[in-house]
């Protein structure tokens, strides 16, 4: 893998030379569309396989290993099968909303890709409200779930949807506060600036204990926001069979689970950007030699490495903990996470104003 900065600028230059600006823009759009679709497909395949492999390792078994070498085509087979499976719509459902819901969750997941910096200068749109944009768009995903749950006309779906509605909105708060701590330290919402601020050290290390607390809060909150175990009440198998997507089958179901995995990727990418310096290599103070060596590793690898580390963390949670009960889940947010993050924000503010961080 290389740093992708060169490629993008070269392409853009070439396009601008060859065509007039409008057509160049159109072609770029097409490129973005193709890239994002393939990223989606690839991420879906990789993450699902990774999840299954991680689960298997933790559970002292082998995991998929018979489809292709080491089982790497397992998820490809699954996807192909899901595409080629009947996607039925129950007669009793609200057909329009039932079929619309997967589109909504997909669109939300896709829109969230825009501000993520995958590598140095490789970003679809460095929007000036970066992290706020992320929290805004991700708050839309709850609608998709509520819609799916209601439109299915199924009791499990509805209960699951309601649960996840309450859960997602609640945990948005502490995720927001955790993000705010970094905004306070950086003084900008723009992703590129946040990354740039970590030139000489990641916030996780620079920001003392408050940032570490914020990081922990962030991880917990996004785990809940993406409906992952131990907060997967929306699809709690033992309680609500399959939760809000009980009635979905085939590709529509695949879209839901794909969106779930993409959301995990995105929140982990954001987490890596905010706390672990995004594509910034690991730099330690004034160790010039060390920093130099780190610079040789391409930025995209840094970014992916950090993101996948966080993803692994979230998977590790899933395969370790039992699920919380609904009221405990909401309690956790309102009684623990929210007060702690409010207090933590004040601490960080003091640190930022006093300039106590490195």
């Amino acid at each position: 893998m290389f740093s992708l900065e060169g490629i993008t600028t070269a392409t853009q230059d070439w396009l601008l030379i060859k065509f007039n600006p409008t057509i160049a823009l159109a072609i770029e759009c097409v490129i973005v569309i193709l890239l994002s679709i393939s990223l989606f497909a690839l991420l879906g395949l990789v993450l699902v396989l990774m999840e299954r492999k991680v689960a298997a390792r933790i559970q002292i078994r082998l995991g998929p290993n018979r489809v292709g070498p080491g089982g790497i085509f397992q998820t490809a087979a699954d996807t192909l099968k899901l595409i080629m499976k009947e996607g039925l719509t129950p007669d009793t459902a609200d057909k329009f909303l039932f079929n619309l819901a997967p589109f909504i969750v997909m669109m939300v997941a896709m829109l969230l890709l825009a501000p993520i910096a995958f590598a140095k200068n490789f970003q679809i749109w460095d929007i000036n409200i970066g992290v706020l944009y992320i929290s805004a768009i991700s708050s839309l995903s709850v609608i998709g779930i509520l819609m799916a749950g209601w439109a299915s006309n199924n009791k499990y779906s509805l209960l699951g949807a309601m649960r996840s509605g309450a859960q997602i909105v609640s945990y948005e708060l502490s995720a927001g506060f955790a993000v705010l701590t970094i905004v306070v330290l950086t003084g900008s919402l723009q992703i590129s600036e946040i990354v740039a601020a970590q030139q000489n050290g990641w916030w996780l290390f620079k920001g003392h204990i408050p940032v570490i607390i914020a990081f922990v809060l962030y991880i917990i909150a996004v785990t809940a926001e993406t409906n992952r175990a131990p907060f997967d009440l929306a699809e709690a198998e033992s309680e609500l069979t399959a939760g809000f997507h009980t009635e979905y089958s085939g590709m529509k179901f695949a879209l839901f689970s794909l969106a779930e995995y993409i959301n995990i990727f995105i929140v982990c990418a954001i987490g890596a950007t905010l706390f672990l310096g995004g594509w910034m290599p690991l730099h330690i103070g004034h160790w010039e030699g060390f920093n130099h060596i780190m610079d040789y590793i391409p930025s995209s690898i840094w970014f992916m490495g950090k993101t996948f580390f966080l993803i692994f963390l979230i998977m590790w949670f899933r395969w370790t903990f039992p699920r919380l009960r609904v009221d405990q889940l909401l309690n956790l947010e309102w009684k623990y996470l929210l007060p702690i993050s409010l207090f933590n924000l004040l601490l960080v503010t003091i640190i930022a104003i006093m300039g106590w961080h490195f």
Binding site: L111, A114, N153, L158, S170, F177
Partner: protein, 116 residues
Amino acid sequence: MGAISLIALLIAAIAFSAGGILVGKIFVKGSSNPQKGQAYECGIPTTTSPWHQFNVGYYLYALLFLVFDVELVFLYPWAVVVKKVGMIALFEILIFIFILFMGFLYAHKKGALKWN
């Protein structure tokens, strides 16, 4: 690229989902039977519809969320300029958060955060 990219992404999402669903629609011929369209409820015919008014204990959380959400929104512009404005910003936010924390404590006292 700017905002155009958002539209491009939207198109990508729609194309991706619609493509997947359409392929399935075209190539798979499903059987049909009267049970298939019925809601799944552990293999028992459903008798009551869920589209029926029932108690949700969650709305109180949604109410509180709304309040805190608006607060969070106001904190964003503040957070951006905290470093520039300095101490005043800290005091301003102290008052702001203090007032809201009062509300939070009130809610806690009243038992609004307790599941009923």
